[in-house]
């Protein structure tokens, strides 16, 4: 049994030996490894480039017309420091006030024996808020406004069309105002409305209103107001400005009233 195992091991070793001898003979030799880099002699150390230690704008945002301050500090060997946008050559450390009208990016260029380096700082410029508007223009004065402010109603007695004394005063003032108004509004006609209180029959009142308007027109004409520019319209009792049943209300309705014509 011992001899049998020993024999097997010998045989295996033998077989492996033979196999190994056979492989060696068939594979080509591998490529040689690359050569090591050549040994370079170290150069003399070069001069270092300058460093921009700081380049800022303060503040970074301004409104148009305000200023911002650029600050910079360049370290290292430097021969020239300049900033564009018209600032030009500057000290290696310094500051400058700028007031750009639009957003601007400033570029600082530092040059030394070791080379150049740049830094940038931006100033944002916003438009200022619009100025306060001018006070509103006075509104155009219309014919209706003028009539309302300068010309008054004139009042009448019940069932009467003659111009009573208080109405004469009012119409005299109206005449002056109307002449001025007609001068200022050279194409505008004036309607003289005749109104009545609610008593009396409707159609009779239309007659009464017509006569009140005509009486006022003639009175004004006598004071020099152009008759061509005045048109009478009777509303009788159809368009009262007051509807209560009292003398105060009735008196308000017995009137001539002046409005812009068409």
């Amino acid at each position: 049994m011992f001899s049998k195992r020993k024999f097997s091991i010998i045989c295996l070793a033998l077989a492996l030996t033979m196999f190994a001898a056979g492989c060696k003979k068939k594979v080509p030799a591998p490529a040689p490894p690359p050569p090591p880099p050549p040994v370079v002699a170290p150069e003399a150390p070069k001069a270092a480039a300058p460093t921009v230690a700081q380049f800022t704008a303060e503040p970074t945002s301004i409104q148009r017309g305000q200023t911002s301050t650029l600050r910079w500090e360049v370290t290292g060997p430097v021969t020239n420091v300049s900033i564009n946008q018209g600032i030009g050559t500057v000290q290696s450390t310094g500051s400058s006030r700028v007031n750009p009208s639009d957003s601007t990016t400033y570029t600082l260029t530092a040059t030394g024996p070791g080379g150049s380096i740049t830094g940038s700082a931006t100033v944002n410029v916003s438009a200022p808020p619009p100025p306060a508007p001018p006070p509103p223009a006075p509104p155009a004065i219309t014919l209706t406004d003028r009539l309302a402010s300068d010309v008054q109603d004139a009042y009448f007695d019940y069932d009467k069309t003659d111009v009573r004394s208080d109405a004469r005063d009012i119409l005299s003032r109206n005449a002056a105002a109307l002449k001025s108004i007609l001068n200022d509004f050279p194409n505008a006609p004036i309607n003289i409305e005749g109104h009545c209180d609610e008593r009396g029959s409707a159609e009779y009142n239309t007659g009464l209103g017509d006569r009140r308007a005509s009486a006022a027109k003639e009175f004004l004409q006598g004071l020099g107001v152009s008759a061509d520019r005045m048109k009478t319209i009777s509303y009788g009792k159809e368009s009262p400005q007051c509807t209560e049943q009292s003398e105060a209300c009735w008196q308000k309705n017995r009137r001539v009233h002046f409005v812009a014509g068409k």
């Binding site: 008593r199 009396g200 409707a202 009779y204 017509d210 159809e238 368009s239």
Partner: protein
């Protein structure tokens, strides 16, 4: 179950043919006939329109002013619907004219009354009617049929009592029910010498659209509809004699001017206004060919009375006063004289003159203010508004015999009463009443009774009654 309409028509027709329209009941001795009108019933679908029917029938007959109406609450419980429903209080005739229609058993001869089945149930207390209107309605082939009878209860038998036996046809709806009720009522009214107002119209001014516009309505206030649509001030309507046209005054173009419209269809007939600060319509002449109106033309002062053709051409002044003269109304009977309002003697009064301006006379005595004259269709009387006895502006309605100048007061305060206008029947007057802040149109009999409010919406005024 259908009503035996055709049978009823045949039997009624055989006996009475159609009423001769000339026939009139002459009421003598000044007695007012008493009429009983029980609620009629409708077969099938007709029943739902019977409330409108019965309301219309009673209202029309009552409004004519020629009857005393028996209150419906005092009528017998049994209401005959056709002649065969009547029974004789004496032993029934051998051959009752029922033709097989099932009939309740005859009443005992000893009964005190027939509960409505005897004619004398209607003529004796408590009903005490002289006349009985009865009948029924039913839909037939898509048509609403009314079979209506009027009996003279003073006659002894139904056969003798029959004054009206007539069939009326309409559409099967409420409007149809009202139509046949109006027609049945018209036949009853006509029989007693009256004139039905069914088919006439009242024109008026209403601001219910926020602007004063011309409106029209039926005499009972139904069917109110807008005529003018100017969105301005349009008012003072007047109506042509045949009812086909109206004239009115509108401010739509600035100064007040006359417009003439046809009514059906509503159309602007383009009246030509002569240049004036005021033109306001007054009335049509009886031939319908001219308009009389008030205008400031010529003098520049409102107003003289003018006449012109219907299109506004051919205008000419009639009056020559320097006072305010308005509201000219041509006598509808003669066409030869005009009543109008004038301030020529002070506060406005009612005057009369010939069509040529001659023969002027003042009709009202000069007290207070008088205006709104309106002719009775007979051309002999006027209605007008007058403040006599009241405060300035507090008008009441009066009538006056133009020849004698005798007047009668119809309204007595209760607000302001003005703008009276006679109905074509000469019996009714429509007018405007202002009470509190409310302006509404009313009708009444020409004796001041049977006041009836016709409008409720908005401010309503200036009514005029036309055909």
């Amino acid at each position: 179950m259908k009503k035996p309409i055709w049978f009823a028509v045949a039997s009624a027709g055989a006996l009475f043919a159609l009423m001769a329209q000339d026939a009139r009941i002459i009421v003598t001795g000044g007695e007012i006939p008493v009429i009983a009108i029980p609620d009629l019933r409708g077969a099938g679908d007709a029943q739902k329109f019977m409330a409108a029917f019965n309301e219309t029938l009673s209202a029309d007959v009552k409004a004519c002013g020629r009857f005393k109406m028996v209150p419906k609450t005092s009528l017998p419980t049994f209401v005959p619907q056709q002649p065969s429903d009547f029974q004789q209080p004496t032993p029934p005739p051998a051959a009752p004219p029922t033709r097989g229609r099932k009939q309740p058993p005859p009443q005992p001869v000893t009964a005190a009354n027939g509960g409505g089945r005897w004619m004398r149930d209607w003529s004796s207390p408590p009903v005490q009617a002289n006349y009985l209107a009865f009948g029924y309605t039913g839909p037939q082939n898509g048509v609403l049929v009314l079979q209506g009878w009027l009996y003279d209860l003073r006659k002894d038998t139904p056969a003798n009592a029959q004054l009206i036996a007539k069939r009326y046809l309409a559409t099967v709806d409420e409007a149809g029910a009202r139509k046949i009720a109006h027609e049945f009522a018209a036949d009853i009214i006509t029989l007693f010498g009256g004139q039905s107002l069914y088919g006439t119209h009242i024109y008026f001014t209403s601001n219910r659209t926020a602007h004063k516009e011309i409106w029209m309505m039926d005499p009972d206030g139904k069917n109110q509809r807008q005529i003018s649509k100017f969105n301005n001030i349009s008012t003072y309507p007047t109506v042509s004699p045949d009812g086909s046209k109206i004239a009115f005054t509108s401010w739509v173009k600035g100064q007040p001017a006359i417009f003439v419209f046809s009514v059906d269809p509503v159309r602007d007939l383009r009246y030509y206004n002569q240049a004036a600060s005021v033109n306001q319509a007054g009335s049509f002449t009886p031939d319908g060919k001219q308009i009389v109106y008030a205008s400031s033309a010529g003098t520049g002062r409102c107003c003289r009375i003018f006449a012109a053709n219907l299109d506004g051409t051919g205008f000419r002044p009639i009056s020559s006063s320097s006072a305010i003269e308005v509201e000219p109304k041509v006598n509808p009977k003669t066409g030869t004289d005009i009543v109008f309002s004038s301030g020529r003697s002070g506060p406005q009064q009612v005057y009369r003159m010939s069509m040529d301006g001659a023969d002027l006379e003042r009709l009202t005595p000069g007290i207070g203010e008088a205006s709104n004259a309106s002719w009775h269709p007979d051309g002999q009387r006027i209605a007008f508004a007058w403040t006599q006895g009241y405060a300035t502006g507090a008008f009441n309605i009066f009538t006056m015999n133009v020849a004698t100048k005798e007047y009668v007061q119809l309204t007595h305060g209760d607000g302001k009463n003005e703008n009276p206008s006679w109905a074509p029947d000469g019996v009714h007057i429509v007018f405007a009443k202002t009470r509190g802040g409310s302006h509404q149109i009313y009708s009444m009999l020409a004796d001041g009774t049977q006041l009836q409010q016709l409008t409720t919406v908005g401010r309503n005024e200036n009514p005029v009654w036309g055909r």
